[in-house]
């Protein structure tokens, strides 16, 4: 059973504190959404979990093991990371890009099995017709799906995704989030995804963690996190929350020129 636990986790760059004293415990499989305004340290939090950034204080335990005592390689064997965007200079074909996800398993050689796994993950993300295209010829949305396929190819027990739906159309936003939820259940893995669309996150996540100004404001099931009060407090936006298909759904009153519309000040960056 995969588990992820942080204990008094904090990150500061120079004198700039990003967040401190984060205590989160995820003890079993599921899709966990991370919400919060821009610049509150969601990505930094994610990078502190897989040691891409070394935490300034506190501990991270993955499957019960302290990451400060693990090598990058140890972590890569069961934790996959899907960045928000990719900055390739010389880009390879889509399949070669996805095959990179097999690196922690197969090292410098690529086996037949690796190619089959990559082909399967490409199929799961609906990009089979692009498999031989060059990565930099694709649209932003296609990029994102290829990067998720690359994460899946790693066959992780814990998967960390930084805004996996930010460039996708609504069909693919729903498709990706549903796929992540199903994967979490079927494979028994922890999927941690940073989201900006509260409604898509609420619809598919088993649990939501709401960040604000370097702290966790609320952590729990979607119905407890997506509330008018929380949205007002964290995002500075007035919203009504209604129930749609058994999940909370936020409707924003964002335009002061329409009757009943109002808007608070932007959350501090």
């Amino acid at each position: 059973m995969p588990s992820l636990r942080t204990q008094g986790l904090g990150v500061a760059y120079g004198g700039n504190r990003v967040f401190e004293d984060i205590n989160i415990s995820i003890d079993g499989p599921g899709l966990v959404g991370i919400l919060g305004p821009n610049g509150v340290g969601k990505s930094t939090f994610m990078n502190a979990i897989n040691k891409v950034i070394t935490p300034s204080e506190g501990k991270v335990y993955l499957n019960g093991r302290d990451t400060s005592e693990m090598s990058y390689r140890d972590i890569a064997r069961f934790v996959a990371y899907v960045p928000a965007q990719s900055k390739e200079t010389f880009s390879m074909s889509v399949i070669d890009t996805v095959l990179m996800g097999r690196y922690p398993v197969s090292g410098i050689s690529t086996t037949d099995n690796d190619v089959r796994i990559a082909a399967k993950c490409i199929g799961m993300m609906n990009v089979s017709d692009l498999a031989m295209r060059r990565f930099n010829e694709l649209s932003a949305g296609q990029h994102q799906r290829v990067m998720i396929a690359r994460g899946l190819a790693q066959e992780p027990e814990i998967m960390l995704l930084d805004e996996p739906t930010s460039n996708l159309d609504i069909y693919h936003q729903i498709y990706v989030m549903r796929l992540l939820r199903d994967l979490a259940r079927e494979r028994g893995i922890i999927v941690l995804a940073i989201c900006h669309d509260l409604n898509v996150a609420a619809k598919f996540s088993d649990r939501l963690i709401l960040f604000s100004e370097g702290k966790v404001v609320q952590d729990g099931p979607p119905s407890e996190v997506i509330t008018s009060g929380n949205i007002r407090e964290v995002y500075g936006v007035d919203a009504d929350v209604v129930q749609v298909d058994g999940r909370p759904y936020a409707v924003y009153h964002a335009d002061p020129q329409t009757p009943g519309g109002s808007m608070g000040t932007a959350p501090s960056d």
Binding site: N47, N50, K51, V52, S71, Y72, R73, D74, I75, A76, R77, V79, A80, Y81, P83, S86, K87, E88, T89, F90, S91, M92, S93, I95, D96, T97, M100, G101, Y103, P104, G107, I108, T110, V115, R116, A118, A119, K120, I122, G123, S128, A131, M132, R133, R134, N136, E137, L160
Partner: protein, 374 residues
């Protein structure tokens, strides 16, 4: 115009997105798998074609010279020499003692610079990276000038000059390693360090040239334009070791360098110690380039152009790009040497020729190339 056409047909034949016939009722997965195998196969075909071209060029180059020797005879003479059963002592002397050292040097230099250039560009994520922009060439020139004008040697004799050039060519790499104690060595920083060092070395080098007597100035100048005609059989093993050891190490690191290309954060999440890999890579590349340049003088354009040409045919996967670029480098060296001989009727300083031919060739390829490769 004709080369444009040929290039176009070639690149259309082996495009990365070439179509594989889809079988009835075949799943997406199976189809993608077969497509991948087919594309890998076509890259291998290209590598084989490069290799064939390479052997033809060797044979042709050896036929050129005062003493007449047939194309086929070149190969049989080499074969007879290697098997220790020399048939014609005259042919053997011309082929083996007079012409092969130059040809072999051209090949070894091409392989080393081609592989080092490809690795530099991929590792620094910069299509402009080559021994010039990383300060290696100017370091070597500075070291050699120091020896030839002021007589400052680390050790005496012919190897003194080589060692001088080598030591100073390693300065950019060593400086980056020192700087990394305070700052993370990003790719951009590596290039900027290289360029600043280039300016510093060039300034001192110019100053030494102004103060030196005309004879040594002329010697420095001859060295600086790069020559492969002076190497003897004794020196070949030395540059061979630099070149091949470098190629092998880089090929072993190729998949890791692929991952660096997707950004440091992602590479770390794959378990790669990014800073350490980049430093090791920089050290290996510098040793290869410095090892070669210090023997032959500055040979421009091969390190820059070979990877770009190879990329058009085999794509940017470093596992295949490194060997392809190395072979391309060797072919380009031979082509330049052959063209110069045909035009002038004698052997030329190779550094001049590579730039004179490489520059326009590269421009033509850039123009003919429709697809963005980099």
């Amino acid at each position: 115009m004709k080369t444009d056409g040929i290039l176009k047909t070639i690149s259309e034949k082996v495009r990365l997105d070439r179509t594989v016939e889809r079988a009835e009722g075949e799943s997406d997965e199976e189809y993608v798998y077969r497509e991948y195998r087919a594309s890998w196969h076509s890259k291998m075909v290209f590598l084989a074609l490069f290799l064939a071209l390479f052997f033809v060029l060797i044979g042709y180059k050896v036929t050129l010279g005062e003493y007449d020797i047939g194309f086929g005879d070149v190969y049989s003479t080499i074969w007879h020499h290697l098997t220790g059963d020399i048939v014609d002592a005259g042919d053997d002397n011309v082929v083996w003692d007079q012409r092969m050292p130059r040809v072999l040097t051209a090949i070894i230099v091409g392989i080393g610079l081609g592989a080092a250039g490809a690795a530099m560009q991929s590792m620094m994520k910069n299509p402009l990276a080559d021994p010039y922009t990383t300060g290696i060439s100017s370091g070597a020139l500075f070291g050699a000038t120091l020896a030839m004008t002021l007589g400052v040697f680390i050790i005496d004799g012919y190897y003194g000059r080589v060692l001088n050039a080598f030591v100073f060519a390693m300065v950019p790499a060593l400086l980056i390693i020192l700087l990394s104690k305070w700052k993370r060595p990003t790719p951009a920083m590596m290039i900027l360090v290289g360029i600043s060092i280039m300016f510093i070395f060039n300034a001192f080098q110019s100053y030494m040239m102004l103060r030196a007597d005309p004879n040594s100035v002329s010697a420095v100048y001859t060295w600086s334009v790069g020559s492969i005609g002076m190497t003897t059989w004794d020196q070949i093993p030395v540059i061979l070791v630099f070149s091949f050891a470098g190629l092998i190490i880089l090929c072993m690191m190729s998949r890791t360098i692929n991952a660096l290309n997707s950004g440091d954060e992602y590479a770390k999440s794959l378990g790669i110690n990014v800073d350490r890999v980049r430093m090791l890579c920089m050290l290996v590349i510098s040793m290869v380039a410095a090892g070669i340049v210090s023997f032959t003088g500055i040979i421009g354009f091969i390190g820059l152009v070979s990877p770009h040409i190879a990329r058009i045919f085999v794509g940017s996967d470093n596992r295949i790009l490194f060997p392809a670029s190395a072979l391309m480098g060797a072919c380009l060296m031979l082509i330049c040497d052959i063209v110069a001989f045909l035009l002038l009727g004698k052997n030329m300083q190779i550094g001049i020729v590579t730039a004179m031919i490489g520059g326009p060739l590269f421009l033509a390829i850039l123009m003919a190339q429709k697809k963005e490769v980099w």
